[in-house]
């Protein structure tokens, strides 16, 4: 009996070793295509950096923003990135607290997307500032009455919680890496050693870890809702037609869940096509994420209906110029493309099961992500171009806003930065949680600890 038991353990151990080497495989394979990819991203970031230095020297005049359209692509990008970051809380906290088991392999993907998007969001908002050299004024002269200060507080809090939520479940995996990554460079080994906090997998350590995770998961939900709600208040706290709306908070949050789910799907697809994770991120995961995307899109559709139908029905002066501009005017092509291609069509298609297969789902998700970005642009710009009073005595160009090359490249650079952070993370840490996957597959803790 003991022999049999021992043999079973041996088999389990071997199976666990296979699992570890599977999940750690991206850390050990670095092909030239990856280097080209990183080089490409660095090039984009470099161009963005160059454009930013130019912007610093010449002022925000290098953008097409002017006194009428005083916010533009940068703010749209900021709102978009904040929206994307919300997925971290959706997958890790909301699904996990609801005991949704299938989402486990996706938690780390969503969490690193959240962290990367937040870092990019914080950078892009500094890029948008006329005087980034005076950033410290916010800490010295900060006014609690300003939604910007709320946003800064809440975004940074969310970033800290997200980093903790990314890091704490990583500790057992880091302990494994400490043992298995002996062939890696010194600094990397040292990093694993320090970050694993001397993890031994004791009962006490697990208890403290689970306690901390539960606390974080509970607290991140209101914080996550508030980052996007407060971001929506940057607009809703003004009197402008198109922004002066009471449903902006939930409208933004629901949109964020939609774009977040889509972003995770795209990332999942990129990961399974590049690394051999088909056994861990299966078609079932895509199918379920597809359903989640439909659900979030339906909620978003509902809020869109409210946001545009209600003012369009009343056609209050002030609102009407803005609404007509979107529905039938200057921005109608973009508006309807975004609404139909980026929201309604995906819902209709994803109800059908074959469209929830990885490839079609990924394509639809890419469209959703692009649509979501353009939607943020539509929220920011048309409103500014339709102020209460007529726009007169300005050059003709002030009546329109067309982002300049510099603005576009800096925005592209922010996306490149996110992809760079995620790519490097995949090369340094297991993107699918090793411990949690093993735990859910029924490997006992002693095997995990002693391998």
């Amino acid at each position: 009996m003991t022999d049999l038991y021992r043999k079973e353990i041996e088999i389990k151990k071997e199976q666990f070793q296979d699992l570890v080497s599977d999940l750690n495989s991206p850390l050990n394979r670095t092909g030239s295509s990856f280097k080209i990819w990183i080089g490409f991203l660095l090039l984009l970031i470099g161009i963005a950096g160059f454009m930013y230095v130019r912007q610093l020297q010449q002022g925000l005049g290098t953008t097409d923003m002017r006194d009428i359209a005083s916010w533009g692509l940068y703010i749209a990008d900021f709102v978009f990135l904040i929206a994307v970051s919300l997925v971290g809380s959706l997958i890790t906290a909301i699904l996990k607290l609801s005991n949704v088991k299938w989402a486990t392999p996706l938690t780390r993907i969503s969490e690193i997307i959240a962290v990367a998007a937040l870092i990019a969001a914080l950078l892009i908002i500094v890029v948008d500032m006329g005087r980034p050299d005076r950033l410290w004024h916010i800490f010295v002269h900060g006014r609690l009455q300003s939604p910007i200060v709320w946003d800064i507080l809440v975004v940074n809090t969310y970033l800290v919680i997200s980093i903790l939520l990314l890091y704490i479940p990583l500790i057992p995996d880091l302990a494994l890496l400490r043992k298995t990554m002996g062939h890696k460079p010194k600094w990397q080994q040292k990093m694993y050693k320090i970050l694993s906090l001397g993890w031994q997998g004791t009962e006490e350590q697990f208890r403290i870890m689970n306690l901390s995770l539960t606390a974080l998961m509970v607290i991140i939900i209101p914080v996550a809702l508030s980052i996007h709600t407060v971001t929506s208040w940057l607009f809703a706290s003004t009197l402008r037609p198109g922004w002066d709306s009471t449903i902006f908070g939930p409208y933004f949050v629901s949109g964020a869940f939609m774009v977040g789910a889509a972003t995770v799907i795209v990332t999942m697809y990129v990961i399974i096509t590049n690394y051999n994770f088909k056994a861990y991120i299966t078609d079932k995961h895509f199918d379920l994420m597809g359903k989640l995307l439909v659900l979030t899109s339906l909620v978003y559709l509902y809020f869109n209906l409210n946001e545009f139908m209600v003012p369009a029905y009343k056609m209050k002066s002030g609102e009407s110029a803005h609404i007509l501009g979107l529905l039938v005017g200057e921005y109608s092509l973009l508006f309807w493309s975004v609404q139909i291609l980026g929201m309604i069509l995906p819902i209709l298609l994803l109800i059908i099961k074959p469209f929830r297969k990885p490839k079609p789902l990924m394509i639809i998700s890419v469209v959703v992500v692009i649509g979501a970005f353009l939607k943020r642009f539509l929220i920011v710009t048309p409103t500014l171009l339709h102020p209460f009073l007529p726009v007169q005595n300005y050059p003709e160009s002030y009546h329109h806003y067309n982002p300049t090359f510099s603005e576009i490249m800096i925005t592209v650079g922010s996306f490149a930065g996110i992809m760079l952070i995620i790519s490097l993370f995949i090369k340094l840490f297991p993107i699918i949680p090793v411990y949690e996957t093993a735990h859910e597959k029924g490997f006992p803790n002693e095997i995990i600890n002693n391998s």
């Binding site: 009455q145 004791t202 006490e204 306690l211 607290i219």
Partner: protein, 292 residues
């Protein structure tokens, strides 16, 4: 063909109308041009003319009527202007042209004639005698708040002067606010009284500065006397309203509810974060115990 002709005719008419409206000439009929000025050149009329001129004409035609006001306009003291008859000038003032508004609706006929007289005197001051100095004294009535100006001749005889136009003002932030009428003439005793209006705001204690002037008068030189009286309503400043806690207040004036709410949320959330970070140390410590 007939229709074409009509269209052409209308077009020509429209064009000529367009051209006409751009360089409108003042076509003054002989009837208008020979219209007689009913007012004599008298100091009293001139004073009225000057007042009107200062109020309505100076901004464009300038203090000296030389056309150098805030915008460039017609010079009213050169020969070209002055050789026009009173009737022509009268007609032009009434009808206006381009930037010159039609004053017919704004001014009374007598007022316009007096302005014309004033313009004539501007180029030919010899028409009136040189102005004299006067003495201006004030007395105030307290029961009914009133101010009386006494105008006396400046010489030792101190004779009361009749029919002198006296102007009464209250001093305000950026200028003098008129009380009483546009013109207040002294009686045979050299006195003229003006009742102080109600609801005039003074300083924080209700003090008002009264300014009494003889000005723009062709018979007498300018003179001004002031008096401070506690006749006004005390100035009520609402500065407190701008120093209270409000959403638009400075950072040290945030509303209390906001302070409590925001700081409360920050405290709760960060307490959890600090607790979790503290747990990280506990995890590390727990591992060390295990090794031992």
């Amino acid at each position: 063909m007939a229709r074409l002709n009509t269209i052409v005719a209308i077009l020509i008419f429209a064009c000529s109308l367009g051209a006409f409206s751009q360089t409108t000439a003042w076509e003054v009929s002989a009837d208008q041009a020979t219209k007689k000025n009913p007012l004599e050149i008298l100091p009293k009329n001139l004073a009225l003319g000057r007042n009107i001129f200062k109020r309505t004409c100076v901004s464009c035609h300038g203090e000296k009527a030389d056309g150098k006001g805030l915008i460039q306009s017609t010079n009213l003291i050169d020969e070209k202007f002055q050789k026009q008859t009173d009737g022509v000038v009268f007609y032009k003032i009434i009808t206006g042209r381009d930037k010159m508004p039609p004053f017919g609706a704004m001014l009374k006929e007598d007022e316009i004639w007096s302005v014309i007289n004033y313009l004539r005197v501007l180029v030919d001051p010899s028409a009136i005698p040189p102005p004299k100095n006067v003495k201006l004294e004030l007395t105030t009535g307290e029961e009914i708040k009133s101010i009386t100006a006494i105008v006396l001749s400046a010489d030792s005889a101190k004779l009361p002067l009749n029919e002198v136009d006296v102007h009464f003002y209250v001093k305000r932030e950026f200028g003098l606010m008129r009380i009483g009428e546009m013109s207040n003439y002294t009686g045979a005793d050299g006195k003229v009284k003006v009742v102080f209006p109600e609801k005039i705001v003074g300083d924080s204690e209700g003090n008002v500065t009264l300014v009494v002037k003889i000005e723009n008068n062709f018979l007498y030189n300018d003179i001004e006397t002031t008096a401070v009286k506690k006749w006004g309503t005390p100035l009520l400043s609402h500065e407190d309203e701008f120093n209270r806690r409000a959403l638009w207040g400075a950072r040290d004036k945030s509303p209390v509810w906001l302070l409590l709410l925001a700081n409360g949320i920050i405290a709760i959330v960060w307490a959890v974060i600090v607790y979790v970070i503290y747990n990280l140390f506990r995890i590390k410590k727990a591992g060390r115990i295990f090794i031992k």
